[in-house]
């Protein structure tokens, strides 16, 4: 309003408003319009003459009556509506009111539909967020009396709870990692896991993203006694399962005998069954616990079998977030998503778990091929600049997985005696022992993918080199990182759990279909013989018969 050039609000504010209202450009009022008459020269407030008050009052009344007309559709009237709009504007005083007057008008109209008073009270809607909040809250509760806790710890020795927050801090220097809240929830969840399970060492392995839920993964080593017990349990289960299988097969066989003729038997021989590695060694060196969200119960993943690793290499599937979901793929994956997850974890660990060279060393007293390593207490960490410069300052501390799906090569066991002879020939070819890289091989020997090197290493900052952290990033497994700073180092994985592939993923083709029957003259199709051929055949037959008879006669004569 103060934009109006003639008005001077400081001097006489009242008249300014009046003037302003009057200055609105408007064509001459038509007689049917409610404001008719106000604009006439005789009635202008600025005329010297005093206008006839009665006529003016009438015009105003007419105008107001028009504004008060109730709409036949909504039951509202314009007068009250304007009053409400003005109240709202003056209460709220938004900026640039003139631009949004339509919206305000709409808002006021919408507000009419809201009930202001009701004897019924609304039901309080509980947002779904409280469920998670309750779970998170439970993480903060300290379990058990402190005395008991201490006693237990004295008995079993302190389990090593990883300092998740410290690790997160170092990774954050390179822009990797979860938000602080989530890291802390994971920290608490790991603490709970250690309280519940008989755990010797524990580590936050990383997070694998899924379509519906994600997996948070803890890598632990159980105490030895417990492990043995569990192994026996598992074996017991397997035996039962096998017995059941046998029963089923026997039944099937009975059924088959009744049917005639016997269908052709498949000549397909499944690949030799390679035994899985014992708990605590090779690919099953660690036990993995996963949960979808911190606060949810931890689930132990089953040990991985070589067949699962071999198959996992050939497929590429997203995780759904449900451990019991089937893995629909070709070649068919032996197991469900829990097994697939475990296989991928084994592959990622084998490919990307690295430590500064020299941090670990082979035990001195053991002479055999060492699968174990111990911490080198005399290790002197190289400066960060050196760690960034050369990949030779990093070494794998997890054994490579062989093509067979195991870390230590084993001769495939011969399954049954019947097939032994047939298989021997094939096996002789396969007998060559596979050998992987030795433990603690330098990562500079890793092969890249085409022209992409296997690793990228850089310092977390160039500006403050004194406090920089060396960050190693795997290009083979996008999402796998390692950091090293002084004696501290850690590996972590955040991603979808798939290996990088510069070409497109090509699913394996199904093997060629087997021939239904062995092709022998009895069942192969032939052209029908022509009449001449038939005649010739008959003639030949008769001749042969005649010859035979003659021979018989001769024989008789001889007798």
């Amino acid at each position: 309003m103060d934009q109006s050039p003639e008005s001077d609000p400081a001097e006489e504010p009242q008249s300014a408003y009046l003037q302003d209202a009057h200055e609105v450009r408007h064509g001459p009022y038509q007689p049917h319009e409610p404001g008719y008459g106000l604009d006439q020269p005789g009635y202008s407030p600025y005329e010297d003459e005093i206008p006839d008050p009665q006529t003016r009052m009438l015009a105003i009344k007419n105008a107001k009556a028009y504004l008060l007309k109730t709409s036949t559709k909504s039951g509202l009237n314009l007068y009250d509506h304007f009053a409400n709009i003005l109240t709202k504007i003056l209460d709220e005083q938004p900026a640039n009111t003139v631009d949004i007057i339509e919206n305000i008008s709409q808002d006021v109209k919408l507000a009419q539909f809201r009930k202001k008073m009701d004897t019924l009270r609304d039901e309080y809607v509980i947002p779904p967020t409280v469920e998670a909040a309750e779970k998170y809250k439970a993480l903060f509760v300290k379990e058990g009396g402190e005395d008991e806790q201490e006693e237990l710890e004295e008995e079993m020795g302190q389990p090593s709870l990883p300092n998740v927050m410290e690790t997160a801090f170092y990774f954050e220097q390179a822009g990797i990692g979860l938000s602080k809240d989530e890291s802390y929830y994971i920290f608490l969840a790991l603490k709970n896991l250690i309280n519940v399970q008989p755990i010797q060492t524990c580590r936050f392995w990383g997070k694998i993203l899924g379509l519906e839920m994600n997996y948070i993964i803890a890598e632990v080593q159980l105490r030895e006694e417990e492990e043995e017990e569990e192994e026996t349990e598992e074996e017991g289960e397997e035996i039962i399962a096998e017995e059941q299988n046998e029963m089923d097969e026997a039944e099937e066989e009975d059924e088959q005998k009744e049917k005639e003729p016997e269908p052709p038997k498949s000549t397909y021989k499944p690949p030799p069954d390679i035994p899985k590695e014992a708990n605590g060694t090779g690919t099953n060196k660690y036990v993995y616990f996963v949960c979808n969200e911190p606060g949810k119960p931890w689930v132990k993943l089953p040990p991985v079998t070589p067949a699962q690793i071999v198959c996992a290499r050939q497929i590429k599937k997203f995780f759904t977030g449900h451990l019991d979901a089937p893995v629909v793929s070709f070649p068919p994956f032996p197991g469900n998503e829990a097994n697939y997850l475990r296989a991928q974890i084994a592959r990622i660990s084998a490919g990307t778990h690295v430590s500064p060279t020299g941090f670990y060393q082979f035990p001195v007293d053991e002479e055999e091929e060492a699968d174990t390593y111990e911490e080198n207490l005399e290790f002197e960490p190289p400066p960060v600049a050196e760690m960034v410069e050369s990949l030779a300052t990093w070494a794998h501390h997890v054994k490579e997985i062989l093509k067979q799906g195991r870390c230590v090569w084993i001769k495939p066991a011969q399954k049954s005696e019947e097939n032994e002879e047939e298989e021997e020939e094939e096996e002789e070819e396969e007998q060559q022992e596979e050998r992987g890289q030795a433990l603690l091989t330098l990562i500079s020997e890793d092969e890249g993918i085409k022209d992409i090197p296997a690793w990228t290493v850089q310092a977390s900052t160039d500006l403050i080199p004194e406090y920089a952290v060396a960050i190693l990033q795997s290009n083979r497994w996008p999402g796998a990182y390692a950091f090293a700073s002084g004696r501290k180092f850690e590996n972590i994985y955040f991603g979808w759990g798939h290996k990088y592939n510069s070409e497109n993923h090509t699913p394996a083709l199904p093997p060629p279909a087997e021939a239904e029957f062995p092709s022998d003259p009895g069942i192969t199709e032939r052209a029908d013989p022509t009449v001449e051929e038939e005649m010739a055949f008959k003639a030949a037959l008769e001749e042969a018969l005649a010859a035979a008879e003659e021979e018989e006669n001769e024989e008789v004569e001889d007798d």
Partner: protein
């Protein structure tokens, strides 16, 4: 995502494990307001970063008064010095699609065209140019492709005025929790392609001021988005499976939304096998 709300927004998308280091965040906080001043942008979005083998490209986008108009794009190698990228041409897009592998991290790196597409190389030679494609061109094309394919906004966050320009909807108060879990509540923030193909019956329910974009529910292949409630159900996070690394967040019942890309700039062509 809005440059102004960057620190809060990065915490919301951190569930995927990618983010920015404190150094980069601080640098962006200092340099993006200067970019906004120098180029006279109304809004600046931090778009994300594309990882290369020897370094990463950080990308920002500047918006003018019409929010749906082509955006100015800038890249930086250190989050401090920004250089303007030229608009993407169709030829660039075609050529860049044939390039495979990681980015190098050097904008002047030249990919040899002769190995990839002999025809295009021959054409370039005829017109007197060298048969190479610069990484900068690939960068431009990749950003354009990602924005076209998976740059998304919640329904109702932007309105189209009768004059055709697009503005933030000042009355947008966020999606409700029920709506936020549906793909149909999110729109591609780019020129709509499927809207014209809709039948009259489908169009009948659309509100021309808010429904002027394509929604996600008919994206091909089906299931190319992972939609999750994170942080105890307080934030909706959409992850594109076609361009792994693109994360969109929206806090239901608030105006907070945005998307950011942290990845290698490679399309996930294996998607149909992976679902």
């Amino acid at each position: 995502m809005e440059a102004l709300s960057l620190p809060a927004a990065l915490a919301l998308v951190a569930g995927g494990g990618a983010g920015l280091s404190p150094e980069r965040r601080a640098a962006l906080g200092a340099s993006l307001p200067l970019v906004q001043r120098d180029y006279r942008f109304e809004r600046v979005w931090f778009w994300g970063c594309i990882q290369g083998l020897r370094g990463a490209y950080y990308i920002a986008e500047g918006l003018g008064p019409d929010r749906a108009a082509p955006r100015c794009r800038l890249y930086s190698l250190n989050c401090l010095d920004w250089s303007l990228l030229t608009p993407a041409t169709e030829e660039m897009l075609v050529l860049a699609e044939q390039l495979k592998g990681h980015f190098q991290g050097d904008p002047s790196f030249e990919y040899s065209l002769a190995e990839i597409n002999a025809e295009a190389a021959a054409r370039l030679v005829q017109s007197g140019k060298e048969p190479v494609i610069k990484e900068e061109a690939r960068l431009i094309a990749t950003i354009e492709q990602i924005d076209r394919a998976v740059g998304i906004v919640p329904r109702g966050a932007f309105v189209k005025t009768p004059l055709g320009s697009v503005h933030e909807n000042r009355y947008f108060e966020g999606l409700s929790l029920v709506e936020a879990k549906k793909l149909s509540s999110y729109f591609h923030f780019t020129e709509p392609a499927n809207l014209k193909n809709k039948t009259l019956l489908e169009k009948a329910d659309l509100d021309p001021s808010t429904d002027f974009l394509d929604s996600l529910e008919h994206d091909i292949p089906r299931g190319s988005w992972s939609i999750q409630l994170e942080k105890g159900g307080t934030v909706v996070v959409l992850r594109s499976l076609l361009w792994l690394g693109l994360t969109f967040y929206h806090v239901p019942m608030t105006k907070q939304f945005g998307y950011v890309y942290f990845g290698t700039g490679e399309k996930n062509l294996d998607l149909p096998f992976m679902l």
